[in-house]
């Protein structure tokens, strides 16, 4: 009987193969190579760490989903390559009304979607109306950037409960679109450049059931628009997503309104393992990849690869949860934590070249950065004194940190945690290490349950607006920090509501000063630049602080 059971395990495999081979038919083969015809031509293969969720930007919320979308779609306003400054895209000009509740866009003329239909003001309004009218909870819950920016839908089905910020869209003539808002918001106009607000072809949206996003069992399924027929105006067109080889293939859009793409074909190859990406590059099977480990920058450079460092646009902080550990409600204890940390050494030892010690909860390039703020110095003696003063010389904290993840602001969480742990230990704080897998409990513990005392987290900016950072962190009561200071929330809210650019920045500068001096709800640690690496013959790729790289300017020599 024993051997029978062994044998059955063997048969099991075979039978499963036969049963399921029928499901194995895939769309491979669609990606047949085509002859080059462009200025420089050729195929660029770029290694990326993850697969996109879908190809409809309104339902996108992570960098790997945005990356292909940014090549296929355009937004009304874009960011000048390599910066977070606004630049014209599908809109040539944009003007607010006096009270900033009405935005008038002068549109580029003669632009066509990939399906040949015209881009015009009607199309703009179609897209905006589609978004605000997303039909069901499943769709609304997926439109994360939209609900962050516009706060609500016509018929709120999901957690967005607010009045929609969007009021209406008018198309007085084909080249003019007017967006009316219910209230002014400091996030505009920068937020109009969000990749989620990309312009899709109204014809394709309707033809391919774009809104047919449904809950099926414990998952979401998307309509054919989001999986097979993304149709924008961008420099590349969708060709195929081969799920077997994990390869996304885009081809040049010959009718692009701007300078056409230099390469014929752009391939994103999903390679989750970091060392595997590096070895693919070294073996010459890919032309570049995203997020090389900071440890490899030097050796890659010395082997002749170009390491393109993005301007810093993120922040890493050590979060403090005042609710879970009452000792942390005393600001002297929180200050002691800040003085105890040797951030100079942390940045030098663990973060890549170009990383800086953070003086506040904003990277330097964001309007609202208070340039007069100095970093909190490393002063273990002062930390000990403060702890003694607060009667917390024997403080014990549960320090949560994530595993199985690297983030642009946090290339190696375990190392960063270990360095901090040693710093805190030296001022007499007992640190209980609580590692949790990023998806396997960490995010729930930190953002939903608030069961931690200290934690590591950060943020990469979506656009140049201080509210995108400070509003996200401290705009309301969150389990992450456990603070209930209404004065702080109101101050952040008021800063966001101040819409004239100078006043907006000034208000946020003050928020920053008060956060560091009066509140210290967390300890800002660093801003660090993620990089891209490409082969020497790859030129024209401009690293973006927003990780918003456009590949149409890239050519292979």
């Amino acid at each position: 009987m024993r051997s029978a059971r062994r044998l059955s395990a063997l048969f099991a495999a075979g039978a499963l193969a036969v049963t399921l081979a029928a499901c194995a038919q895939s769309e491979r083969g669609d990606g047949a190579a085509q002859g080059g015809s462009g200025a420089t031509g050729g195929t660029l293969v770029f290694g990326v760490p993850g697969a996109p969720d879908n190809f409809d930007p309104i339902f996108a919320q992570d960098g790997e989903t945005f990356r292909p979308a940014r090549q296929m779609y355009d937004t009304l306003i874009t960011y000048k390559q390599g910066t977070a400054e606004l630049a014209p895209a599908l809109a040539l000009e944009w003007t607010p009304s006096a009270d900033f509740t009405e935005w008038t866009f002068k549109l580029r003329e003669g632009v066509k979607f990939h399906d040949g239909t015209d881009f015009n003001a009607e199309a703009v309004c179609f897209n905006f109306n589609r978004w605000v009218n997303l039909p069901n909870a499943a769709a609304q819950a997926q439109a994360i950037y939209y609900s962050d920016t516009f706060e609500g839908f016509t018929n709120n089905q999901a957690s967005a409960t607010g009045t929609p910020v969007f009021n209406s869209c008018a198309a007085p003539d084909p080249a003019t679109a007017v967006i009316k808002l219910n209230k002014a918001k400091g996030a505009f106009p920068a937020a109009f450049g969000l990749t989620s607000l990309s312009m899709s072809s109204p014809a394709a949206l309707q033809q391919y059931n774009a809104d047919q996003i449904e809950q099926s069992g414990e998952a979401f399924t998307y309509g054919p628009y989001a999986t097979e027929h993304p149709t924008g105006t961008g420099p590349f067109k969708f060709e195929s997503y081969d799920r077997t080889a994990n390869v996304i293939t885009l081809v040049r859009n010959p009718d692009y309104w701007g300078e056409p793409a230099k390469v014929d074909k752009l391939i994103f190859r999903v390679i989750p393992d970091e060392n595997a990406r590096k070895q693919e590059l070294q073996a010459g099977t890919i032309d570049g990849y995203d997020y090389p480990s900071p440890a490899d920058w030097e050796s890659l450079k010395s082997s002749g690869y170009n390491v393109l460092v993005r301007p810093v646009f993120n922040i890493l902080y050590m979060g403090i949860n005042q609710k879970n550990n009452p000792a942390l409600q005393d600001i002297r204890v929180r200050q002691a934590l800040a003085y105890a940390i040797d951030r100079e050494s942390l940045v030098r030892n663990q973060l890549p070249e170009g990383a800086v010690v953070a003086t506040q909860f904003l990277p330097e390039t964001v309007d609202g950065y208070a340039s007069d703020l100095q970093p909190i110095p490393y002063d273990p003696e002062r930390a000990k004194a403060l702890l003694a003063e607060a009667g917390q010389s024997n403080l014990t904290v549960n320090f949560y940190y994530p595993t199985e993840v690297t983030r642009p602001y946090m290339p190696n969480p375990t190392n960063i945690f270990t360095a901090l742990q040693e710093n805190l230990r030296q001022v007499g704080i007992t640190v209980n290490a609580v590692p949790q897998p990023w998806n396997g409990g960490y995010l729930d513990s930190i953002t939903a349950n608030g069961v931690h005392d200290l934690h590591l987290l950060g943020w990469t900016g979506d656009y140049n607006d201080a509210g995108n950072f400070l509003g996200t962190f401290f705009g309301r009561n969150k389990p992450e920090f456990g603070i209930t200071d209404q004065a702080l929330f109101q101050q952040v809210g008021a800063a966001d509501a101040t819409v004239d650019p100078a006043g907006h920045a000034a208000a946020y500068e003050q928020v920053n000063r008060d956060l560091m001096a009066k509140y210290l709800p967390a300890v800002p640690l660093s801003s660090s630049p993620p990089a891209i690496v490409v082969r020497e013959n790859v030129t024209g790729l401009i690293p973006s602080p927003l990780t918003d790289e456009r590949f149409y300017t890239v050519s292979k020599g």
Binding site: R6, A21, A138, I144, T244, E280, A283, L443, D444
Partner: protein, 334 residues
């Protein structure tokens, strides 16, 4: 016979129900969940709660379980929370990859292992024997993820003989027929595609083959030694048969019996034991699906994988019992 089969099939149902309930409960007791895996750093308590509500994950486990059963009864094993694709389609794609890799590893292990074990036995105690045995033991002792990295660094990066990872080069136009990349090339006569697939297969197959290789070498060696010392070999030798006849006709044939049992045993282990190899070589087989599902808390995918695995296991057990009854008249079905 028919009644026996029917009764066994009916008996299978409670086993599967119990197993699926266990899997279901196990998954939902894991920390984290699909909602936070989906949201990443955009997670807020409201969003997590909302997604859980929409996906029905806020319901009592038994209610969720009932809904799951109803869907499965209609043949719907659900949709992956990671890819939004039906899990059956995912499994259908990953399975040929895994089988291909396992078979390749097994071929390497058998083709190298049997001769090595045989030769080692012939030269028992001499340097050749010792080197072979120690060599295979070291192969087992190197952590697979590290071995994979070393293989890639030497044979892909330094020497450039093989591609470092993946199953296919992006510039090779391959048509998918069966999902077995090497076989597909033959079927469609796209020889370059076959060759490309084969070159991708070499390094991961070698990495995966180390453990079965060591086992096969050891068993072959022991088994040959047993046979060499047995009476009938001595008889054959004393009869004056030529050494090559004795070796080929008597020793090898008898020694291979236990080896073939061992090979059978290795197949099952290879099929799902390739989690590390698949990760290092970005292979995209069942191991990758499983590991990804655990990491990202993809409930539907895990449920489907484990349940289908169990179902096939049970059914094959039944088939084996039946075949025994047909072959061996002494076994009665009752």
């Amino acid at each position: 016979m028919l009644r026996f089969v029917l009764r066994r099939l009916v008996q299978v149902i409670p086993t599967l129900l119990l197993l699926s309930l266990l899997v279901f409960a196990w998954l939902r007791s894991l920390p984290g969940g699909p909602a936070s895996a989906f949201l990443g750093d955009r997670a807020t308590p409201q969003r997590i709660a909302e997604l859980n509500r929409i996906l029905g994950l806020d319901q009592p486990v038994l209610v969720q379980y009932w809904r799951f059963l109803v869907r499965v009864a209609s043949g719907d094993f659900g949709t992956s929370t990671i890819t939004g694709e039906p899990v059956l389609a995912e499994i259908g794609r990953a399975l040929p990859a895994t089988i291909e890799l396992s078979l390749a590893a097994l071929v390497i292990a058998v083709v190298l292992g049997i001769p090595l074990g045989y030769v080692a036995a012939q030269y028992r105690g001499r340097p050749l024997d010792v080197t072979t045995v120690i060599g295979t033991l070291i192969g087992v002792a190197v952590p697979v993820f590290f071995l994979g990295y070393l293989l890639k660094s030497v044979f892909a990066v330094q020497l450039g003989w093989f591609p470092p990872s993946g199953r296919q080069a992006v510039d090779v136009d391959a048509t998918n027929v069966t999902g077995f990349a090497v076989l597909d090339g033959f079927l469609t006569q796209e020889w370059d595609a076959s060759l490309d697939a084969l070159s991708h297969l070499v390094l991961p197959a070698v990495a995966l083959a180390t453990i079965p290789l060591a086992v096969i070498v050891r068993i072959t060696r022991a088994s040959v030694l047993d046979v060499l010392g047995s009476d009938f070999v001595r008889t054959a030798n004393s009869k004056g048969l030529s050494p090559s006849t004795v070796r080929g006709r008597h020793v090898l044939r008898n020694a291979l019996l236990p080896v073939s049992t061992t090979i059978g045993l290795q197949v099952g282990l290879l099929l799902a034991g390739a989690v590390l190899t698949e990760k290092v070589f970005v292979w995209g087989g069942i191991g990758t699906l499983l590991a990804g599902a655990i990491e990202q808390r993809d409930y539907p995918r895990l449920q489907a994988l484990l349940l289908l695995g169990a179902l096939v296991y049970v059914l094959v057990n039944l088939l084996v019992d039946l075949s025994y009854a047909i072959i061996d008249p002494r076994v009665r079905l009752s």
